[in-house]
């Protein structure tokens, strides 16, 4: 429906739900049950609560560097809602909504950002690779995951996420090319949040859209309003079905905006005006779905308040539990380098242990 007619050379994007919370393209409106709509909404809202509270904790010196997702919740949750549980995800580092929608325990997510690798040991059914910080590197893994799925005769799809900055890396292009040549069941989502830290989208590429990078690889590319959860869901769903039917990969550009800092180590006031951020706040992805739900009679102010209170408490308690988790045990540092510790590693482990014993630690 979308992909057949998509022309990524034209700077137009698919929008179904406008910033006022109105469905402007009823013919495109995906079928979504009330239950599903509420799950999508609650996941976005929870993601927002987690970000806001985590930023507080970070300011209080209780959290390490953290990458907030503010403003990108629809791009994340809308696409995640369009895949099934057994589908693979290759994330970068700004996909909290995807983790939550796929059932990643918040405790684990927090533990990772709290500086403990154990957080990335997710329950197996989550099927998300660990956070990938080297920009765009995960795109290649997504192509490989999908190739393996195909070879094994399974019908799972692999969805990968990358930023607008990531489209400059060789890995991005190589992954698209591999997926195209091997016709793998992939969906690649660019979260175009307009910034690579301080570097603006316009400096990153002269291309009118990021979606048009698909053209050179002979695969469909499409630009979507990334703050519109219905558009993100509907387009991703079509791309996922296409991939599952053996028709190959798709590149989706989610046009969105990073309302927060790159990470808590970044100060965006150095490179952008608050007025620009204010303009984008008017396009907030959560607000527009909430208005829609109110108008449908699916959600109320009272339910909103109760949900926020309950989830804030849940986030607080989860974070406090993570704070109690202590330091990484010495053996964890040594136990996962290889399947079996090498003799040299065993010696080094014993040496460190003996030193701690001597120091009374």
């Amino acid at each position: 429906m979308f992909l057949e007619n998509a022309n990524p050379l034209v700077d137009e994007m698919i929008q179904i739900l406008n910033p006022e919370g109105e469905v402007v393209k009823p013919e495109w409106m995906p079928e979504l049950s009330k239950e599903m709509l509420l799950k999508m909404y609650k996941t976005m809202r929870l993601s927002r609560i987690i970000d806001e509270k985590t930023l507080q904790y970070q300011r209080q010196g209780r959290m390490l560097t953290y990458a907030p997702n503010l403003g990108q919740e629809a791009a994340q949750v809308g696409s995640a809602a369009a895949i099934r549980q057994s589908d693979w995800v290759a994330p970068s580092f700004r996909e909290l909504g995807v983790w939550l929608y796929k059932g990643a325990p918040l405790y684990n997510v927090f533990l990772y950002w709290f500086g403990n690798e154990l957080g990335m040991k997710m329950p197996e059914e989550v099927r998300i690779l660990p956070v990938s910080i080297p920009i765009a590197s995960q795109m290649q893994h997504a192509a490989g995951l999908a190739y393996a799925t195909k070879l094994k005769g399974e019908d799972d799809v692999t969805i990968a996420y990358v930023g607008d900055g990531g489209t400059s890396q060789g890995d991005f292009h190589e992954a698209l090319n591999f997926a195209s040549v091997k016709n793998t069941p992939n969906v690649f989502v660019i979260q175009n949040n307009q910034f690579a830290i301080s570097t603006r989208r316009a400096i990153q590429s002269k291309a009118k859209t990021m979606a048009q990078k698909a053209i050179g690889y002979g695969i469909p590319g499409i630009q979507v309003d990334g703050n519109d959860i219905f558009a993100m869901y509907a387009v991703t769903k079509e791309a996922v079905e296409r991939a599952r039917n053996g028709e190959g990969p798709t590149l989706i550009e989610a046009y969105t905006y990073r309302l927060g800092a790159h990470t808590t180590s970044d100060d965006p006031t150095v490179y952008r005006d608050e007025s620009e951020v204010e303009e984008w706040r008017k396009k907030d992805p959560i607000d527009r779905l909430r208005i829609y739900l109110f108008n449908q009679g699916f959600w109320s102010e009272a339910e909103e308040e109760a949900f926020v209170n309950e989830q804030s408490e849940f986030v607080k308690q989860t974070f406090e539990a993570v704070e109690q988790s202590g330091l990484t045990p010495l053996e964890d540092v040594f136990d996962y380098v290889y399947a079996e510790k090498t003799p040299i590693l065993e010696t080094q482990y014993q040496e460190r242990k003996a030193f701690y014993a001597k120091e009374g630690k």
Partner: protein, 325 residues
């Protein structure tokens, strides 16, 4: 005289170099408008324009690969890798081209470029933000590898690196970017690449370190000197080429040798330095030369990082063993 911290000294060196030579260009991720994530290039775009100081595209291979072309064609690129752990997409260009262009063209084409990278741990950072990768470069023929530990050295060594006819990997210990200030001359000056610095003379033991480990080592030495030992501390400053002469001369005097580094142990820089001592001062040795290093694991995230890097207590304890051997 200016009074600068290490990162300000780097900015000042870049400013001096750009002011002296219009062929010096400075770029990297977020390097232009913002002045880099650590602000090493702060103010340079405003002063020298967007053509000479700019935000690169987000691609380390492009930053280095295009820099090689610029260097061959008369410019002097001084590029930034945001963190040394992000360098790998560009490592291909460093090893296959920057390091060997002179050799491949028998001197016709050369790559006088500087690749700056913040490196090292201890800042409670995310994954790929804490590596000490000096041996990867030091093991590559054609590269020079420099690590300053003070603001004064940072400026003088960076200016030497920019003047150097060959590619220089300039590793900056980010943990001490803002740790202390020091008097730094306003004008142009250089500190020779390939020359270690004796920070403190001593009779009983020679210790060599560099970068952020100098501070830890100094504290360990303070404790040991209170116990009555006399220790010589050398800041290696250049990882490649190594200043063998200074090291050997010192060990011939003290008879004992230890190296302290943040990089992992096996095939680490300590192995090479100890070999140099064995080759050049074996008959003077009164104890086996020792390396006090990080362990051979993946560098842990912050909650486990203390297991990895040698702390002051461990350095003190190991140095004491060398003295008491």
């Amino acid at each position: 005289m200016l009074v600068l911290n290490l990162i300000e000294a780097i900015t000042d060196a870049l400013d001096v170099a750009m002011g002296m030579d219009k062929n010096v260009v400075v770029y990297g991720e977020d390097v232009g408008f913002e002045g880099g994530v650590f602000r090493a290039t702060k103010g340079l775009q405003a002063k020298y324009g967007e053509e000479r100081c700019f935000d690169s595209i987000l691609a380390e291979s492009s930053i280095i690969g295009a820099g090689i072309g610029m260097a061959i064609n008369g410019l002097k690129p001084v590029v930034e890798m945001q963190f040394s752990g992000f360098m790998f997409p560009g490592f291909n260009q460093i090893v296959t081209h920057a390091a060997r262009m002179r050799n491949r063209s028998r001197g016709l084409y050369t790559v006088p470029m500087v690749i700056r990278m913040p490196y090292g741990g201890g800042v409670r950072a995310l994954e790929h933000h804490s590596e000490s990768l000096e041996v990867l470069f030091a093991h590559t023929p054609g590269l020079k590898v420099v690590i300053p530990s003070t603001p004064y050295d940072a400026k003088g060594l960076l200016l030497s690196a920019i003047m150097d006819p060959d590619p220089v990997i300039f590793l900056e210990p980010k943990r001490i970017y803002r740790a202390f200030k020091q008097e730094v001359p306003e004008e142009f000056y250089t500190i020779p690449i390939g020359k270690a610095k004796v920070l403190k003379e001593g009779k009983d033991l020679t210790v060599v370190a560099w970068g952020a480990m100098i501070k830890e080592t100094q504290k360990a030495i303070e404790t040991l000197e209170k116990e009555g030992h006399s220790i010589e501390l050398i800041d290696l400053r250049t990882i490649s080429p190594i200043d063998k002469e200074t090291l050997i001369k010192s060990v011939q005097k003290t008879g004992r040798f230890a190296v302290v580094h943040e990089a992992a142990k096996t095939y680490g820089p300590g192995a090479e330095l100890i070999t140099i001592i064995n080759e050049g001062a074996f008959l003077y040795l009164e104890a086996p030369p020792t390396r006090i290093t990080s362990v051979d694991t993946v560098i842990p995230l912050p909650k486990g990082e203390h297991h990895y890097v040698p702390n002051i207590e461990l350095i003190t304890s190991e140095l004491r063993q060398v003295i008491e051997y």
